[in-house]
């Protein structure tokens, strides 16, 4: 237990009395420097309570501050409505999903143990691919967003969950929840715009390297989980001095351990057991295929979230002074949905409701379908685009962008 002199205690207390949020943050930093102690950390990036951003995005330029505020209130009401309804049926939903997923996982893996038989190989690989997709998308992604934290079940909680994906859950939560969801599509702030690898926005400066855009994307798709894992290391931040060496070493260690475990399970332990039936090689191909199928699918779905034609990107001026209403607007016009069957929605982890997910990242995923028509109606009423389309069209649209932006911008 720390023994603190009165003086320091007072400084700390001073520091966290918020006269205004920014003020408090500055003082907290000052106090941290002064005392060298673990002072209260005040969160940054809070939204303004009124006013408007320096520049409102073109798609929303026709809206007044009051209209944007009203839109914010309407969306808040939709969220409150869901939170009031959330209960035992939602809890039963996620538990059922987890059961189904684990059932698919063990039956798929067990079938691969005898995959010398061709039918067994196909069945096992299919079941395992489905299990991995469900695990990453409908369960892992959403649990790690804290969508199920309200249940207070330590087995299904954003702070305890680990997923069947090479990047460690905690690293991903930082780049995804803290950065991507807060700064959605803001070029320069949200590195999900191209993942530091692809040129996905005309605002990003063209370099000869970008000629390889389609090639990089094609290579990325089947090894997407490794791409994400490297991306989550934030090497760019480290190079620019925004990430300490200790932090990087820590992340590298966590990734090493996680990758080793994942690798052992799929590419050593499962084939080793399958060798008992002479199916070792087939089982290895099975797990390799299942991971690749999941990677290609996740890559496609995730690219459909923010890159299809119709989604906007933003400049830093557009978020300066942003209110909650403007933040909502940016989430809606910067995201795109995928239309399709119930099964397709499930397999995308309900990320096919990307717009709704970005508005309310922490409501249970089974509720997005119910929210979608209300959000669409709001967009229509306020004259905002609501981008959606079948998966083949949206995937085609992202690939078109990948090709188009490989080339330098045309001189005016």
């Amino acid at each position: 237990m720390a023994i603190v002199t009165n003086h320091e205690a007072e400084t700390t207390e001073d520091a966290v009395v918020p006269s205004s949020r920014d003020d408090a943050a500055l003082k907290a930093d000052a106090a941290a420097e002064a005392s060298g102690a673990q002072a209260a950390k005040t969160r940054r990036g809070a939204l303004a309570t009124s006013g408007s951003p320096l520049v409102r995005p073109p798609a929303a330029a026709h809206l007044s501050d009051e209209q944007v505020a009203e839109l914010g209130r309407e969306l808040d009401a939709i969220k409150d409505d869901i939170l009031a309804k959330r209960g035992s049926s939602d809890a039963a939903y996620i538990r059922r999903m987890i059961k189904i997923q684990r059932g698919l996982e063990i039956s798929g893996r067990a079938t691969l143990l005898v995959s010398r038989n061709k039918a067994a190989w196909i069945t096992g690989t299919t079941l395992l691919s489905l299990a991995k997709i469900l695990e990453n998308m409908e369960i892992g992604h959403n649990v790690l967003h804290g969508q199920w934290d309200w249940m207070r079940d330590p087995d299904i909680h954003s702070t305890t969950w680990e997923w069947d994906f090479v990047t460690p859950a905690r690293s991903w939560q930082h780049t995804h929840n803290d950065l991507h969801h807060r700064w959605t599509n803001v070029v320069g702030k949200d590195n999900d715009v191209g993942y530091n690898l692809l040129r996905m926005d005309p605002q990003q400066e063209w370099k000869p390297f970008n000629l390889g855009n389609p090639l990089y994307n094609a290579i990325l798709a089947p090894v997407f989980e490794w791409g994400i894992a490297i991306y989550d290391l934030e090497l760019q931040d480290y190079k620019e001095g925004n990430k300490s060496k200790e932090a990087l070493v820590k992340d590298l260690k966590a990734l090493g351990i996680k990758a080793l475990k994942q690798f052992t399970k799929d590419y050593a332990a499962t084939p080793a057991v399958a060798m008992l039936t002479g199916s070792g090689k087939q089982a290895l191909y099975g797990t390799l295929t299942a991971n690749a199928v999941r990677n290609v699918w996740a890559h496609a779905v995730i690219f459909c979230g923010h890159f299809p034609e119709g989604t906007d990107t933003f400049t830093e001026e557009m978020v300066e002074g942003e209110t909650r209403g403007d933040w909502y607007v940016r989430q809606m016009i910067g995201s795109a949905n995928i239309s399709g069957s119930k099964f397709m929605h499930l397999m995308t982890g309900n990320l096919s409701h990307q717009i709704e997910h970005h508005l309310f990242p922490d409501i249970p995923s089974n509720r997005y379908a119910e929210v979608a028509p209300k959000v669409q109606e709001i967009c229509k009423r306020y004259g905002l685009p609501y981008t959606t389309g079948p998966i083949w069209k949206q995937v085609g649209s992202t690939w078109a962008k990948v090709f188009k932006l490989a080339l330098p911008p045309k001189k005016a």
């Binding site: 969160r43 209960g87 804290g146 087995d155 702070t159």
Partner: protein
């Protein structure tokens, strides 16, 4: 056992990032890598609004001592709630809790629990247990306060011929009196156990304002180790009586000092009325000290949540409502299961109104509210 654990570790190579228990839980819900669970085996209605729930705990449970309590987690509308309940089963037998419907959680337990249901558990704890060496005992209980004492009576009376137990149990009416028939049967069967049923509906409240009532119901009460369990007022009155008697006895012994009278009473001496010999178990605590004070912004650092709160809501409730996995226990400031490190700010103890807080201090979130901005390391 050790081999099992090795096997589990080997199997985890195939189940990572899950534990083998996570897969086994598909077949038997008692399995969990992270939390202790039990399966309800039997539910017995005791009175109109109380029931005894027997359960079979999974691995990690430890056998209870008579008088201890356990934390039980139940789901209400999909949300996990934890409460502490005394175990009423005798030591050495399968655990059971006896619950009286007094709130949302206990109501669900009493009305909706069925055999086969899963209960979330924490191992039994508590110091309200039988003395190590045989002593004459006096048990004072009111309402559901009989529960831990029932475990003691069931443990001691039928198995120890040398036991000497007097129980005074207060309930509103005979119908409300939990375990009434079993207690009467035990008293008939075992001469070393005496029970007085006191029905407040007929005779008014048990009166601890003077020694008169105890003198009548249990003349040798001053020579017994006493256990009391019941509502707050009942316990406060008992404590006041024991303190007063101890003060009077101290005065008396000063007066008779040198007359050797004290020595001649020595065999009974150690059990004489003394607050030390009154062991109490509280069920509720008044948390009114925060009312009227300002709260502040509470930040749960590791969970990355911020909540603006008033000065009278326990930080435990604040965290739970924000979806933070708060450790919790008795929810009344006695068990220290909820200790959470304070990073910055000050908290108010809701029992006393005292404001305190140093960075790094472990605070009891169940009885502490924000006194200004608070940052917690969770």
């Amino acid at each position: 056992m050790i081999r099992l654990r090795k096997l589990a570790r080997a199997a985890s190579v195939l189940t990572t990032p899950l534990a083998p228990e996570d897969i086994l839980s598909l077949f038997n819900p008692v399995f969990s890598a992270r939390q202790l669970r039990g399966i309800v085996t039997r539910v017995v209605a005791e009175t109109a609004d109380s029931a005894t729930i027997f359960f079979r705990p999974g691995r990690g449970w430890k056998a209870h001592q008579a008088g201890q309590w356990a934390r039980i987690g139940v789901e209400l509308d999909g949300v996990r709630h934890w409460r502490s309940y005394s175990l009423s089963a005798p030591a050495g037998q399968d655990p059971a809790i006896t619950v009286t419907d007094v709130g949302a959680v206990s109501g669900v337990l009493v009305r909706n629990t069925r055999p086969g249901d899963v209960l979330f558990l924490a191992p039994p704890q508590g110091d309200f247990v039988l003395p190590e060496h045989p002593r004459p005992l006096l048990m004072l209980t009111a309402g559901s306060g009989i529960t831990p004492v029932m475990s003691m009576v069931r443990t001691l009376v039928p198995h120890r011929p040398d036991a000497d137990v007097v129980l005074i149990h207060s309930a509103r009416t005979p119908e409300d009196s939990i375990f009434r028939e079993e207690l009467s049967e035990l008293a008939d069967q075992f001469p070393n156990f005496k029970v007085t049923h006191w029905f407040t509906g007929e005779r008014g409240r048990v009166d601890f304002s003077s020694a008169a009532m105890l003198d009548e119901l249990c003349p040798d009460w001053r020579h017994r180790a006493a256990y009391a369990c019941g509502p707050e007022g009942f316990l406060d009155d008992a404590e006041a009586l024991w303190s007063a008697e101890a003060a009077a006895a101290a005065e008396g012994s000063t007066l008779t000092e040198g007359s050797a009278a004290g020595e001649s009473h020595q065999p009974e001496g150690p059990f004489a009325a003394d607050p030390i010999n009154l062991i109490i178990e509280r069920f509720t605590t008044s948390l009114a000290a925060g009312a009227g004070h300002d709260g502040g912004l509470v930040t749960f650092e590791a969970s990355d949540r911020e909540v603006e709160v008033d000065g009278s809501t326990p930080l435990l409730d604040v965290g739970e409502d924000a979806g933070v996995l708060m450790p919790s226990g008795c929810r009344m400031g006695i068990c220290h299961s909820c200790l959470t490190p304070l990073r910055a700010g000050h908290v108010r103890d809701l029992r006393t109104g005292e404001v305190h807080g140093e960075p790094g201090q472990l605070i009891q979130t169940c009885v502490s509210a924000a006194a200004g901005p608070v940052n917690l390391d969770i």
